[in-house]
């Protein structure tokens, strides 16, 4: 799981990129707390062949990245 809550651009994407490059997970959970981070992580994840599901709760976003 990548917890990128509170981190500003582009740290959330950097963290997801590191995890994807290192472990090539088939499924990855990412926590962020800003819409802009959801957009950025989604753009990056889909470019790497992941489907992205987002659940919002109390202003935080839980993203599930699944390899297509």
């Amino acid at each position: 799981m990548v917890d990128a809550r509170g981190l500003s651009c582009p740290m959330p994407v950097v963290m997801v990129q590191k995890e994807v490059n290192a472990n090539k997970p088939s499924e990855l959970e990412v926590l962020v707390d800003a819409k802009v981070c959801v957009e950025n992580v989604t753009r990056y994840a889909s470019s790497q062949g992941y489907d992205v599901k987002v659940v919002e709760k109390d202003g935080e976003f839980s993203m599930t990245l699944k390899k297509k």
Binding site: G6, C9, V13
Partner: protein
Amino acid sequence: MGKNSKVNIWVLITGLVIGIAALALTALGNPKNMGFCIACFERDIAGALGLHQAAVVQYVRPEIIGLVLGSFIMSLATKEFKAKAGSSPAVRFILGASVMIGALVFLGCPLRMVIRMGGGDLNAFVGLAGFAIGILIGIFFLKKGFSLKRNYSVTLTEGFVMPVSAVVLLALVIAVPGIFLFSEKGPGSMHAPLFVSLAIAMVVGALAQKSRICMVGGMRDVVMFKDFNLLSGFVVVFVTILIGNVILGNFSGFSTYLQPIAHASQLWNLLGMVIVGWGSVLLGGCPLRQLILAGEGNGDSAVTVFGMVVGAALAHNLKLAGSAASLAEDGTYNAGGIADTGKVAVAIIFVVLLAVSILNIPRLDKKSK
């Protein structure tokens, strides 16, 4: 590059609107190639408040107020307004001041750099090279793990600091303009009508909030993630300005000679923008983006903007800012440039940026936990 090359339509629209807005503001009275300049305008506000005494650059620029309020209103409408702060505020203040001094050495923020490029100012292309180098240096440290650490949810008061400051400044300039210092000549005396500037900037601020347009984010995302989304905005601003200037008859080819409010001291054009690129990557966004984030409740960005205002005051009080090229009455051409104090400041800022970059990389022993 796959799907990552997909660009958000709002970024393109925002780039187009910024370009047209900048051309309109110049036509309505703003200085040449300065429809927008976040650094210059914050510097002018610092001057109007008496924080520096450079008589030619003092004016309460409504564009800054409008950008903040546009972002504030849009973020309320989209429920994105959130009061957040606590990510290394003092370091951000110093970085804001550093970026401002770098920008004033070059004579423009990244947005004005693009506007100058579209106006045919070749000196700005040297700035672009420096900007790119700065961004690459910043990315090097990001890849090493550089982080100013996370922010936290804070009380609404924190989030309202920048929008309320903008409203108060606007109210004062309308009600009691006499308390401010206003330039009688020079760039500070040249401006579009207050309410026109305000309205245009509010539209741009709202769009910039929605699209997340960022001059530094463009190149950064291409290098780091092969993501061309934000860079497309940067390119659209340039193309719009270039075409607009040609149509309006303002374009007379590309040259380094006697460009409006610019100097041809190329080493310092380059180094000034290296500072801006590097510092902005560490901050997570260009000066425009900091204003927009401050408008949507980010206290760390508000502190950065205050740092920029202080940096601007220092730049003029200590004579660090570049002086523009000029033509004397007898026809002698002065290419402009920066004073020795400015050169020393650039050197010191490089040390500061290097220290901030290295000291905010988690140590290896901590990383393995």
